[in-house]
Symmetry: D2
Subunit: 341 residues, 4 copies
């Protein structure tokens, strides 16, 4: 970190700051420029998280030089993490495909969806049991009943299960049924919840928030990882911008940016980014081409009857076609995806 002093700052102010830094075990490096003096701070800046240096006399501003996250960063672990979920490896050569309906609605629906996505090559079945909906009058999910149905689908198909958790209580309930927790975009900075899944060793699919910078996202991942759970898979799902043609703006650059800054795997959710089923195929192809480790896609046996997010769910046939195309692109770029059963 660099401390930039105000024009005309005095020597005693600089001495004062140096004392504070040294008392915390940090090194100090002073550089007097023509317009400003700057102070370089050497050492582990985490000891400064509760010290308001910016208010000390003479200080104009603080400039961070290295990213503030540790456990998610390449400095902590330079080689990419590969997360093993009961034999399915996320972040390795093979791409991962998670698919299923927005919400679990009934045994028939989830079974049909499970067999369909399995058939195309998906390794994970997704399905919401706790649904955060914009309107309180809309369908809110089957809760534990939904989780049981997911477990049944797992037993029938061998698919791994991922489902969103929205509260500490939901984590406790879901723990019995799912193979991976999902933290949704609305909870990206629900630190209580992040800590809760951090205390588990179960893998966590951790979605970016619609107005979270990549830096903030990786910082918040620290809430999960600092509790001991390093099995975090990042998921880009679109950010909020002024453009209204799509529900959110898929930040495709997040894929290479995360690959440069972090060792964690990253997958892409084109369904929530686009909000419209006709854009899911092109965005999926783009995501894989950009280097994503996989996709999470909403598939519904009969989208026209879906109880939530109907417009963005794919039909099984369209999903099957998508998987085929993805397997072809995967080969070109040195990855692989086993299309079909």
């Amino acid at each position: 970190m660099i401390i930039v002093m105000k024009q005309g700052s005095q020597d005693k102010e600089i001495v004062e700051i140096s004392k504070v830094l040294e008392s915390l075990g940090l090194g100090v490096h002073i550089s007097k420029g023509t317009e400003r003096t700057i102070i370089g701070v050497l050492g582990d800046k985490r000891v400064l998280s509760d010290v308001p240096l910016e208010l000390m006399p003479g200080v104009e501003k603080l400039v961070p030089i290295v990213e503030s996250y540790k456990l998610a960063g390449k400095t902590f672990k330079p080689e990419p993490s590969v997360i093993d979920v009961q034999g399915v490896k996320i972040g390795g050569k093979e791409l991962v495909m998670m698919a299923g309906p927005c919400a679990v609605e009934s045994r028939e629906q989830i079974m049909e969806a499970a067999f369909a996505v399995k058939k195309s090559g998906a390794q994970f079945l997704r399905g919401g049991a706790f649904k955060p909906r914009t309107s309180p009058y809309a369908f809110q999910g089957l809760e534990e009943e939904g989780l049981k149905l997911l477990k049944e689908a797992k037993d029938a198909t061998g698919l791994l299960i991922i489902s969103e958790v929205t509260s500490e209580k939901a984590v406790e309930t879901a723990d019995k049924y799912v193979d991976m927790f999902q933290i949704g975009a609305r909870n990206v900075q629900n630190f209580q919840l992040l800590r809760e899944v951090g205390r588990s060793q179960k893998p966590v699919l951790y979605k970016r928030g619609p107005s979270t910078t990549i830096d903030e996202w990786l910082n918040a991942a620290e809430y999960i990882m600092s509790e001991g759970n390093h099995n975090v898979i990042l998921c880009e799902r679109g950010i909020r911008t002024f453009e209204t043609a799509t529900r959110n703006t898929l930040d495709i650059s997040a894929v290479p940016v995360v690959k440069t800054s972090s060792h964690l795997p990253i997958i892409v959710d084109p369904s929530h980014a686009a909000g419209k089923s006709q854009y899911i195929l092109p965005l999926s192809k783009a995501a894989i081409a950009a280097g994503a480790d996989g996709l999470i896609i909403e598939v519904h046996p009969n989208p026209r009857c879906a109880l939530s997010d109907a417009a963005q769910q794919l039909k099984p046939d369209d999903f099957n076609n998508l998987c085929k195309v993805i397997s072809e692109i995967a080969e070109i770029i040195g990855r692989e995806f086993h299309y079909g059963e």
Copy 2:
């Protein structure tokens, strides 16, 4: 709501849609244009919240005509709501001032802050006991111990207490100590939490999220209000934009927009919007001039020692000056604020 049909949609598609709508008790009004047919839907659209009309054959898109929130809207209640918190009226002629440190740190600190803000005319003492912080290594709040200190400060000064709740458990704990719950920006769509405070009758200060539209905010308020708690005070605190000179961009227009669309009171938080103490006075003046019903401001007896958000906390003297200026502007615009004890 209007259903816009695709170019070349067929009569039987229109008949099909009409049947669905009529089966739900809605009226139908068909209008054939030169390029498209549109279908007007008459009646209470809430019955449609789980019906994916946009996927029916021939449909191009749905266009909402009236806002989807009910309880927070002017249609539901045309006259402004005035919320009475033990005699302090929010949304009436008198402005409300909530002030205090970002976080409760110690008995000395909160007592000193309480007496200081009381002296300038504040009616509420604010202070965080549960602190959502960006880094897990930063100070996270004193939790119940902090709430007890707030209660002590109330007993000593007569100030009402407002404090943030971040989980269902926190609501339960805080209920014993505070006079008003605060829902922070990060939890604007934590529907579980909104419902929880909705089940109480205690007033709720409900902050806008950094990427929430005003329409989404009023819709989410429905989660609190539909549980029976209509004592909601909105709080604008800045939105996320590309501008980096301030922490967030205060959306000052939200004040007149909310006054036009909703009967709920709205106050402004210039501290989190600006992120820098030198901008708090001008933004506070602007907020009141624009018609806000009050302000919530971070004040710390010694900002340089603050354990969180140091850069944006005002010193008691600066806060005192702010209250004086606000009382003068209030008079000009037909409001009032009692500066001083």
Copy 3:
């Protein structure tokens, strides 16, 4: 278009509006709902562009139903446009690659760049002669001298030439030397300039502005097309968002959205979107996978010596590798690109 009337609007207000519409030759369709009356307007709404309907008594708001652009839209021309530039077809099966330095700096530089990009398969040489730079103290381009050097490079290599025009005078000068005009992001709504290139028949590469919605962009294209020049190629180059890890946020969804709404070809500029050379390859792959008709990429024989935008220019070897990868992806998705000479 739909006119939504205020709650409690009166019959005589509706009659008044109907008269205005009918006097302009438009059809009127009135629909009385439970809460509001809405008026459907039938016919060509362009006659309304100077009629302030929103101010007529009783009107709450206007809701557009179909997009307001005509010439760029699919309704006007359903099949995709293929633009032929001296034998190179843009928007057909073959992908187009435009490459070269940010700015023309010297004969040596542009010749070296031209032979390099030609060797990898590019059909167009790009190079700025009129450079809009953020600081007035930075290099502003060689102007006509630069255009002459581009022409020399064309004569030597057979590459087609594209260069940015920034004023009416620049259009006049460039007309003698280039095969395609480029309108840069800063001039996306410089209507005077758009008209000027519209009066030519020379193809125009028309970049989206950093804060232009796709709808506004297609509307502004109307300024070029309504003057008679339909040879417009759209270029997505990133939009402004709160994310700072990249210079702009590449809106990859713009590719399928434009393909759905417009018949015009669209290419992608990953260099300006990313602002960092290490992200250009993954973004290029993503763009082609998403369905773009080509790419425009900054390539400099010696980026370390570049006089502008050094950080985002590729070295010829990296560009060569990019072209190879693109040719492979092209094949998978049913397009083609002739890598190598």
Copy 4:
């Protein structure tokens, strides 16, 4: 400026960079941290504007320490600039009010508007003669004929005239008729045009672009000022965000931010920010309370007949009321505005 070296950068790389800097007359200050080496650069960094330091071996990134604009900055001129336009002082104690229709439409209209705004206390008459409109089919302005009418209105009322210029040719024409040029938001980075008005000594009202940061805006002002014209008045008119309740989001914080960073006066345009006439009064009050030096407001004798931007133009009576309220707020905050003739 600080150069941050990559982890593991080598001594010879640091030596190489130091040589380049020293050859340009800059000082060098090296600081070796635990993770990175950083190099402080001392002296006038403008010599670096064409040197791609970020591409030298071992460099990770460049971090600017002081703002890059000079002439618009407080370092160049610490005291506020007061710009005298024929006796009307902008940036002093007295507030300036510029008002009039969006576009000049006819002699009757502009005369009526002029007398009306004069009566309420405005010092400037605004009126567009060159109108950049989103659609090419909409009214584009009366051009020179409109300027002549503005001049007539000046002769009749004594009001000063401000009008937008959109091209070099328009500057030449307008120079004969207006007292202040306006550069509109769409031309904020039309550097050719900025230079053109920079070569005049006529004051320039320089609007911020909808996606321009304050830093970029002050940098672009350098294009005007470096040509010798220091009579620049900044104008905040709203930025583009995801919020759709208003046409743009008025960045009210820009007022105190500019006052902190620059010596130039700043006024606010609530009409374009809001896009709806009912929000103009509250936003005007907020702007003045926040410290703006004046306002520019659209006023039309008969908004319902306006040929452009009808929804955001005030009626003369509403403007008169606004001026009265502003004069009262002015007094409270130590400014003054002479309401009435």
